[in-house]
Structure formats: structure tokens, C-alpha cells
């Protein structure tokens, strides 16, 4: 059996010599794939239509539990609080909300088009999740049937969630990644990070773990390290992790532990410092926090 094992250890060399000689993922392949990705960004894949339809149907089922709350640009903060009120009636865990959610840059000037947010809220006794989308017309919370067109990935701007803390670490991949052949990378503020294949960069500081994944990972890691150095941290958090995934869009995840609970803020966008500011502004919501209606 030892001889067989020795022979099988030669499988990579054997296969490369016989099956794969002269066959590589070359520049032509990479360009073809990238062109296809580019095309897929321009229009939703037809394969996604059944999934979108299913999502709409599922969300429609949630209508029996919905509250009728109008969502408009000027009242975003109030609607966040009203979403919290909706959640509070259905969950047993403390709710944390950021102090605000900045409008997209192009919408901050006066006279621009009005932007509306649609809130998709899920909750049970073990947790809650508030997904936020931009929409053309105001639509009440969870009233997906009133949307003129199905929600698309490009409308998603972020989420706020809380759940009972599980024993599993926030990033199980951490130990695996550290054991591999990662190279050292010095980031702003003297942060020493590890760079794995230019695709993953990770480091640890002050009870927080940072992990950047995707294209241009070292560049995003540099931006993240600079942003972390310039901002505070979630009040009272017992450590957490910040994760950036750069795929067809850049998404920043900030998760932190508080007692027996774990919270996460997801921000879709390249402005990492803004994402951290939103997460770090989170405070426990109680009903008296709710601002008065306009």
C-alpha cells in the first residue's frame, strides 16, 4: 500500500504531463471571463428571474405581519426607529441602531431627485434583520407587493441585524488562513497584516479582526487600516470583526459582540470610513429614542 501511496503522490506531475500539457488559464481565458462578468453586470441574468419571483412571493407571504409605515427621504431616521418598533414586538433581544444612514453622495445636494428607502424586516425571538434598499417611490415597510419592479441587487444599500451570540467565531477561516503561506504586509499605522495570494488580506488588532477579500485586496486593506486608525470603535463592544468583500460591488461588514448578542452592520459601497462611522454610531434603541414625526 505504501508503494501505491507513493505512486498517487505523483498524480499532480502525472496529470500535468499527460492531461494538461500546454493547457493553462491564459490571458485569453481571463479576458473572456471578465468580458462575460462585465456583460452580466449590465442586465440581470435570466436565471435569476425565477429566484426573484420566488423572493417576491415569499416576501408577499410576510404581508400578514406587516405594519403600514411610510418611508421617505426626510424621515429615514424615524423609519429606522419604526422598523425597530416593529422588530421589538417580535424579538427578545436588545436592538441596536446606528444614529443615521447617510444618503448616497449624489443625493446629498439640494434639488436632486428624492430618494426613498424600502425596508425589508425579518424577526424572530433569536434575532432580527433589517435590509435597506433604495426605491423610486415610497413604499411601506415589508409591503413588497407595492413595489413597481422586483428588488434588484443594485438597490441594496445595507443591513442592520442582531442575533443571539453563537459559540462559533466570527471568522472560522482565520486559523486556516494564518497557517498557510501568507506574506507579511505593512499597512498604515504600523499594522502588520498577512497577504494571501493578493486575494485575501487579514490582521488582528485590539480584539478586532480585519479581513479583506476579493479583487485589489491589498488596496482595500490599506484603505481599511487607514479608516480604522481614524475612527473610534463600537461602544462597549467585546471585540468584533470587519470584513470587506470586493466582488461585483464592494460590501463592508462590521460585526461586534455585546454580552450574549452579536450585531452586524452591512454597508454596500466603497466608502469604508463612512461604513465604520455608521457601525460605530450604533446605540441601543429604546422606544423613547424615537424622534417625533415630521
Amino acid at each position: 500500500m505504501r508503494n501505491l501511496e507513493q505512486l498517487l503522490q505523483q498524480l499532480p506531475e502525472a496529470a500535468d504531463n499527460t492531461l494538461f500539457a500546454g493547457w493553462e488559464m491564459d490571458e485569453r481565458h481571463v479576458k473572456t471571463i471578465l468580458a462575460r462578468l462585465e456583460r452580466s453586470n449590465r442586465k440581470p441574468s435570466r436565471q435569476l428571474y425565477p429566484l426573484l419571483a420566488a423572493a417576491v412571493m415569499l416576501a408577499a407571504l410576510a404581508l400578514v405581519l406587516t405594519a403600514s409605515i411610510p418611508v421617505a427621504r426626510a424621515a429615514l431616521q424615524q423609519v429606522l426607529a419604526e422598523a425597530a418598533l416593529w422588530v421589538k414586538a417580535r424579538t427578545g433581544i436588545p436592538i441596536y441602531l446606528p444614529q443615521g444612514w447617510p444618503l448616497p453622495n449624489k443625493e446629498t445636494g439640494t434639488g436632486g431627485p428624492t430618494i426613498n428607502y424600502y425596508f425589508e424586516v425579518f424577526s424572530n425571538m433569536e434575532g432580527y434583520n433589517i435590509n435597506i434598499y433604495t426605491v423610486e417611490e415610497p413604499v411601506p415597510l415589508n409591503q413588497v407587493a407595492q413595489l413597481k419592479t422586483p428588488l434588484s441587487e443594485s438597490q441594496y444599500v445595507g443591513s442592520i441585524s442582531g442575533k443571539l451570540r453563537k459559540n462559533a467565531p466570527a471568522l472560522p477561516v482565520w486559523d486556516q488562513a494564518k497557517s498557510k503561506k501568507a506574506t507579511r504586509l505593512e499597512l498604515p499605522g504600523g499594522v502588520i497584516a498577512y497577504n494571501l495570494d493578493q486575494v485575501e488580506v487579514f490582521w488582528e488588532k485590539g480584539g478586532w479582526r480585519y479581513w479583506v477579500l476579493g479583487h485589489d485586496a491589498p488596496d482595500y486593506a490599506e484603505k481599511l487600516a487607514a479608516a480604522v486608525g481614524g475612527t473610534g470603535q463600537v461602544p462597549k463592544a467585546e471585540g468584533g470583526c470587519v470584513r470587506i468583500v470586493a466582488g461585483n460591488a464592494v460590501t463592508v461588514y462590521v460585526a461586534w459582540n455585546l454580552g450574549e448578542y452579536q450585531y452586524e452592520l452591512v454597508y454596500r459601497g466603497e466608502d469604508i470610513a463612512r461604513a465604520l462611522d455608521i457601525a460605530y454610531s450604533a446605540t441601543q434603541w429604546i422606544e423613547t429614542n424615537m424622534p417625533p414625526p415630521d
Binding site: N3, L11, A15, T18, V173, K180, V199
Partner: protein, 166 residues
């Protein structure tokens, strides 16, 4: 994304080939794999490492393809392919090792898919049984059993082919 394709492209191509035994189809699958990676990357939560996650997408797409009617039709026409993989009848001492390797590859490719995939992921891609279980969405014990069974089949077939060292 380009870096991800460059970094893992060959692994995906080759895993797909081990399943499909056709370069054109493997290249086609590789495109699908990276399209899925692109779409699903924001949902990747790090429960496995990135390579295992990408290989899992590749393995699933390949198995879907193997199950498709059009694929079965194509393979029926090509099932004699592995019979024709050139192996010298009287190899010289200089080429003996290479001939032995060719037989090894041929016998691995003849394994049923459920054994071939664990052998390829273990010996070619260098994953351990826990990582293979993640890629194949299977139990670690099942992976170990299949590896043992695959080795037993290979030992028998290699002996039959005159690889007495096995």
C-alpha cells in the same frame, strides 16, 4: 476579480476536466464558475477557505453537467476515449516512469465519479479530508471511506495493468 481568476483558474479548469474529461467543456464550466463566484462573493462568509469554496462551486456545476441528458449523449460517443490513451507496449527504461504515470492517470480517470473526485481533490488539489467534505458537501467519514475504497480499486487495476509496485 481578475486576480481571483488568475489565482484559482487552473485549479478550476483542472477539476472540471477531471469530472468532464473534455477541455472545451472544462473551459465552459470555468466561465460559469467565475460568474457564480462574482455573483456570490458578497455572501461568502469564510466558513471554508476561498479555494475550497470556489472548488465547491466548480464541483457542483460539473456534477450538474454530468447529470444532464446532453452530456450523457456526448459521453456515450466518447466512452472509448480512455482506451486509446497512448501507453507504450514496451517502454524503454528511460520512459518507464512516465508510462507508469500515464497508466496511473488513466486508471484514476476510469474511477467512478464519487471515487475519482475524492482522489483528485486529495492528491491533485492537496485538500485534506475535512476540506474535501466541505467542497463535496459530504461527511468527513464518507470522504475517508471513499478514499480507502478508491485506493483499493486503483491497487487492483494498477496490478492488472502490470504496475507491480502498487
Amino acid at each position: 476579480m481578475e486576480q481571483i481568476i488568475i489565482q484559482y483558474g487552473n485549479s478550476v479548469l483542472r477539476l472540471a476536466y477531471f469530472y468532464l474529461q473534455d477541455r472545451g467543456m472544462a473551459e465552459d464550466i470555468a466561465q460559469e464558475v467565475f460568474l457564480r463566484v462574482w455573483q456570490k462573493l458578497p455572501t461568502f462568509r469564510g466558513e471554508s477557505d476561498l479555494k475550497s469554496w470556489i472548488l465547491r462551486i466548480a464541483a457542483n456545476l460539473c456534477k450538474d453537467r454530468l447529470r444532464s441528458w446532453s452530456w450523457r449523449r456526448v459521453r456515450l460517443m466518447e466512452e472509448e476515449f480512455w482506451e486509446t490513451l497512448p501507453v507504450g507496449a514496451n517502454p524503454s527504461a528511460q520512459t518507464l516512469a512516465r508510462e507508469k504515470q500515464a497508466v496511473l492517470v488513466r486508471e484514476v480517470m476510469r474511477l467512478p465519479v464519487k471515487y475519482r473526485e475524492v482522489v483528485v481533490l486529495f492528491y491533485y488539489h492537496g485538500l485534506d479530508s475535512r476540506e474535501i467534505a466541505l467542497v463535496l458537501d459530504s461527511k468527513e467519514g464518507t470522504v475517508r471511506n471513499r478514499l480507502a475504497r478508491a485506493r483499493a480499486i486503483l491497487k487492483k487495476s494498477l496490478l492488472k495493468e502490470g504496475i507491480t509496485g502498487a
